[in-house]
Structure formats: structure tokens, C-alpha cells
Amino acid sequence: EQLFVGDQVLRITASDEEQITLLRVLGEQAELQVDFWRHPTSPGQPADLRVPFPSLQAVKIFLESNSISYSIMIEDVQELLDEEKKTMTKSRR
């Protein structure tokens, strides 16, 4: 089973088309293994990006160095998954 310990989901807001293009480029960098939950669409609209723990630093540096604003939407994906699993087990009981 794949675990997502330390993975974060970032909510990113591009301010112009250039930043949207940069985000698309980011998504295509296979070595980062990022996963757009919500794709960048138009300036001002949020995009949500799951970033594996090992890629977090690189992605945040990329965003900050290109002045793309973001916030942490989910601090630790695995924590939510554990909670989800616990709820399902409780419901079965």
C-alpha cells in the first residue's frame, strides 16, 4: 500500500497567464511526481497540487522564486487518510 506521509497539497493561485504556464511546466517535470488535483485554469482561480514529501522543498522554491502565491491546503495527506480509514472501520463495527 502506498503511503503519503509528509505529502502536502498546496493551493496555488497564479496571477497571470505566464504563471499558469509555469505551473503547467512544473506539472510536467516527471521527477517531482506532483499531481494536480485541480488544474491551473485562469488567473485568480486556485489550483491544487499534491506534492510528495521529497519534492516539497524543490516545488516551494520554484513557486517562491517565480513569485507564485500558495498556501498549504493539506498539511499531511497521510493523516487525513488515517482518519478516513478509522471512520470506515468505526462505521463497519
Binding site: R38, V77, T87
Partner: protein
Amino acid sequence: VERSTSTFDFASYHTIDEIYYWMDMLVDDHPSLVSKIQIGQSYENRPLYVLKFSTGGSNRSAIWLDTGIHSREWITQATGIWTANKIAKEYGQDPSVTAILDSMDIFFEIVTNPDGFAFTHSSNRMWRKTRSINPSSHCVGVDPNRNWDAGFGGPGASGNPCSETYHGPYANSEPEVKAIVDFVKNHGNIKAFVSIHSYSQLLFYPYGYTSTPVPDQKELDQISKKAVAALSSLYGTNYKYGSIITTIYQASGGTIDWTYNQGIKYSFTFELRDTGRYGFLLPAKEIVPTAQETWLALKVIMLHARNHPY
């Protein structure tokens, strides 16, 4: 194991086995209204089940609903279960549901991508695609919402099997898609088609693969406006609506573009809620509110289809 539809916990997420078992219970509880049909098999040979709600007649005009084509969107399958139950329970009680089912059939595929869904429960909660093997790649799966024969392979879909939006080797390559295509064509009398996804609170109509507006844009826009107003009236959930390409982005090979081109005028796609910034990990306590508000919008669409035969 859940023993009856009345004790089933709709406010929890369930595995595919539990959902399939629940479908049998629903059929047992409403034998004169609900039946289960198998429209095909998935890549890993799981049955593709559709619930048929019918009060009789032969090849009546019909409404199609599906949930969970992207396996990790658990809120959609959960909403599907609640909605199917609601349809069964409300027939004979709610005048609009009764009117719809007295003249039309409803077909409901609750787990459109069962292989992917099972994989999200066993191996990778974040899995989105089907589980078919791509001979030319080590990456598995095709995005079933890029695999339809509507602008197939165009912009807004990827030719890279490792991408989450990989369109597959050819249109309808995925048995999960082909089964619906065959069903829709063989039926020939489906008048509304609603494919439910999550998340981001949107209601779409075609097109996604081209910026050319559909001929019925005005009517579809008006229905969307009404449906979103009904949805928002319950909990104030904020929805946007419009064509796929103008509202989010260009996406080729999508479900409702194909259904619209097949002549199904009332073709819509939902993106259900995430009001709390949880994305695909929406807490189970939000299942019922999400389903309740979505139901109001669905009724608007279904009633419109019933009242505007074409």
C-alpha cells in the same frame, strides 16, 4: 456486513464489495422498481453494474446517471449510493420523482471505474485512472474521461501513459467506457446523461474539446442556472456553471461531449463539493450534505428532461 438498506451507513465510505452487496439489497427492497443489469466487465474482469429504475413500459425514454469514473473521487460513489436510495424511496412519495419514473426509466452506474476504485481501497488512495496495462510503458491506466470518441487525442488530453490524463491508445479502448458506449447506442432512447465527478463545485455542459458553442447552449445554460440555484439553496454551497472549455479548460475525449454528439441534448457533468479544502479526501460527514444538495440539482435536470421531450 450491512444487513439491509435501512441500516446501511450512508455517512461512511464503502468498499466495492460493500457497494455491490448494497445494490443487491436495494433491488431486494424494491423489486418492482429496481433491477440490476450488467453492461460489461472491467479490464480486471469486475462486473460493470447498472441499476435500472423502471415502472414498466418498453424502451422508454431514459435518464443516465453515473458516478466515480475517476476512482479517487470517493464522494461521488458515496453520493451515488445515497441518490440511488433516494430515487427508490421517493417514488410514490415525491411528486416530481414519481412523475419522472412514471414516464421515464433511470439508469444509474454507481461505480463506473471499479478496478480503479478497488485499487484506491487496497494500494493507492490517490489513483485516478483505469487499471489497463499500456504495452509501450511501465505506467498503468488510462483516464476514462479522455477516452471517448469526441475530439479524441486532441488538446487537453495527454499521449503519455504516465500522465493522469492519458487518453489511451484509441477511443473506447477502455472496457469501462466501451460498455457505456454500447449501452447508450443499443438503448437509443436516452434523453439525459449526467456524469458526476468531484471536486471544485461546478456544473458543466458540452463542449470540452472545442470552443464552438453547442447549438443548445442557451437552454443548457438556463437549466444549469436553475440547477445550481436549487443546489445552493440548501447549504449555500457556491457553484459555477458553463461549458467545460470556458469554465475550466480544454479537455478532449470527454464523456458528455460524446453523449451530446450522439444526440443526447441534456448532457451534464458535475464536480461536487469541497467546502473545507479537503479535495479528494472529503470527510465522510460531508457525504450526506453533498448528496442532499446535489439531489436538488439532479431533480431540476431530470424534471426538465421529462417535461421537454425531443
